[in-house]
């Protein structure tokens, strides 16, 4: 069998069809992950009663089990739960009204949230205690101090790791095929099977993923420079 370089291009063109799916899975899971992650990190740092135990258990469970497992647990478990509740309370809602991609959003957001919470927690802890004390001393409330002083500085600490998470979730979005959502990788498999050109299709998919990753790296390094403006000429 010989490789057909031209088919890589053909495959690439047909992969673009699935690009929006991959992008939306990544964007939704990372932005939800950022929100969940920040909440979990703050709950754990401030040891909010009861909630911090739940948060710790959540992070432990998610990091202790594979991402594909989370997808299956949500995909098979959530409909049972929803239909059970609907039946018990006499609601008209049925789980089959949820689009397949909805399960992907929920499960990947939960996965991303657990991993990102640790990144954000590290960032917040890295901000010097003196910064929040100074914020208190000018009369800010804890919420104001966090929003205006601590979190912006924490962000500049965790940005490199957050870009890691973003790239990780972009690549992990390929698991969505397990519940029949057609992302780039799944599309490559379809193209490959239809034409019996597996290597070419997967090379095309790899190129597409690589290209997107390079874009993310570029964007974050630019953002990093802007956010770290205050460290130029930096001694302290």
């Amino acid at each position: 069998m010989k490789i057909d370089p031209l088919f890589i291009l053909t495959a690439l063109l047909s992969l673009f069809k699935a690009l929006p799916t991959t992008l939306i899975i990544t964007v939704v899971s990372v932005s939800m992950g950022l929100i969940i992650g920040s909440a979990v990190a703050l709950i754990r740092i401030y040891k909010v009663p009861v909630l911090h135990r739940i948060a710790t258990a959540y992070v432990m469970f998610i990091r202790g089990t594979p991402m594909l497992m989370h997808l299956f647990l949500i995909y098979f478990g959530l409909p049972m739960l929803i239909d059970g509740i609907s039946e018990a309370w006499g609601l008209p809602f049925q789980s089959n009204q949820i689009p397949l991609i909805g399960f992907v959003f929920i499960s990947f957001s939960l996965t991303a949230g657990a991993y990102m919470s640790e990144v954000i927690r590290a960032g917040i802890i890295a901000v010097n205690r003196g910064q929040i004390e100074a914020a208190y001393s000018v009369g800010m409330t804890t919420a104001q101090a966090l929003r205006r002083i601590v979190l912006p500085q924490a962000l500049s600490v965790c940005l490199p790791n957050l870009s890691n998470s973003l790239i990780g979730m972009l690549h992990a979005s390929t698991l969505a095929f397990a519940v029949s959502v057609v992302d780039i990788n799944a599309q490559a498999q379809i193209v490959a099977a239809n034409n019996w050109k597996f290597l070419e299709s997967y090379i095309a998919a790899a190129l597409l993923f690589w290209g997107m990753t390079v874009l993310i790296e570029r964007a974050t390094s630019r953002l990093e420079k802007r956010i770290n403006n205050h460290n130029r000429g930096g001694v302290a």
């Binding site: 003196g130 910064q131 004390e133 208190y136 001393s137 000018v138 009369g139 104001q144 002083i149 205050h230």
Partner: protein
């Protein structure tokens, strides 16, 4: 007027402050002296609620608070009545000099941006940093950073400014410029409580000296009395040791 009554504070079993009573009149410059571990910094931090005393009351101007019963609103209220100048400056690292001073005015005291800017520039000019408005803290020397810290406190127009060893982290060469600024604002009649090891400065600037050791106020009074004729044995020892640094024989 600031009045502290029966302030006690322990870290675990270790009692850092024991039943402290202190009154500071409006416009007074109070210097707190004492060996390390005597509780001076902790006392200062209690006034700004950066430490929570186990018991005691505080009165600042027309505001009263019992530390045992303080709720979030009281704490917030208390903090707005004082401003702190920190040993390690603690400037907001991600904000420029001007933004550092404006921050409290805009966010807490709800000044308009223009007004806050005008007032901040005025304060920064007063501490001699009118040309550094757009610099970040990391681009300044220690002495300059501390002067921004002073401008930040001054801009808030608090009832009292608390100085926590403001020159201890500085190069000896830079101590002078910071002390000069503090001297200058002391003359304006702003109430200040200063924890320091600069004896000469304490002597010139203060109206009232407090000597602390092991969590209690050992002696307090006018600077000429404390430095000239201390009554307590512990004060004499401390002053003798700290003012005769040149008397080492090697």
């Amino acid at each position: 007027m600031i009045k502290l009554t029966n302030i006690s504070k322990s870290f675990g079993k270790h009692e850092v402050l024991h039943q402290i009573n202190l009154t500071v009149e409006k416009g007074e410059v109070v210097v707190i002296l004492g060996p390390s571990g005597s509780g001076k910094t902790t006392l200062l931090r209690c006034i700004n609620y950066l430490e929570k005393p186990n018991e005691g009351q505080i009165e600042i101007g027309d505001f009263n608070l019992d530390y045992k019963q303080a709720n979030k609103k009281d704490i917030h209220n208390l903090r707005q009545r004082s401003a702190m100048v920190f040993q390690h400056y603690n400037l907001f690292k991600h904000k420029t000099v001007l933004e550092n001073v404006m921050e409290g005015l805009v966010v807490v005291q709800k000044f308009s941006t223009d007004e806050a800017k005008r007032k901040s520039i005025e304060m920064l000019e007063k501490v001699g940093l009118g040309t550094k408005l757009d610099a970040y803290p990391s681009q300044l020397s220690g002495g300059q950073q501390q002067r921004v810290g002073i401008a930040r406190a001054l801009a808030l127009n608090p009832e009292v400014i608390l100085f926590d060893e403001p020159t201890s982290a500085l190069d000896p060469e830079l101590v002078g410029e910071v002390l000069d600024v503090i001297r200058k604002i002391a003359k304006e009649g702003i109430t200040m409580i200063v924890v320091t090891h600069e004896m000469g400065f304490a002597r010139d600037v203060s109206n009232h000296v407090v000597f602390m050791d092991e969590g209690v106020i050992v002696e307090e009074g006018r600077p000429q009395d404390i430095f000239g004729a201390p009554k307590e044995e512990r004060t004499k020892q401390f002053l003798k040791r700290i003012t005769s640094e040149w008397a080492y024989s090697i």
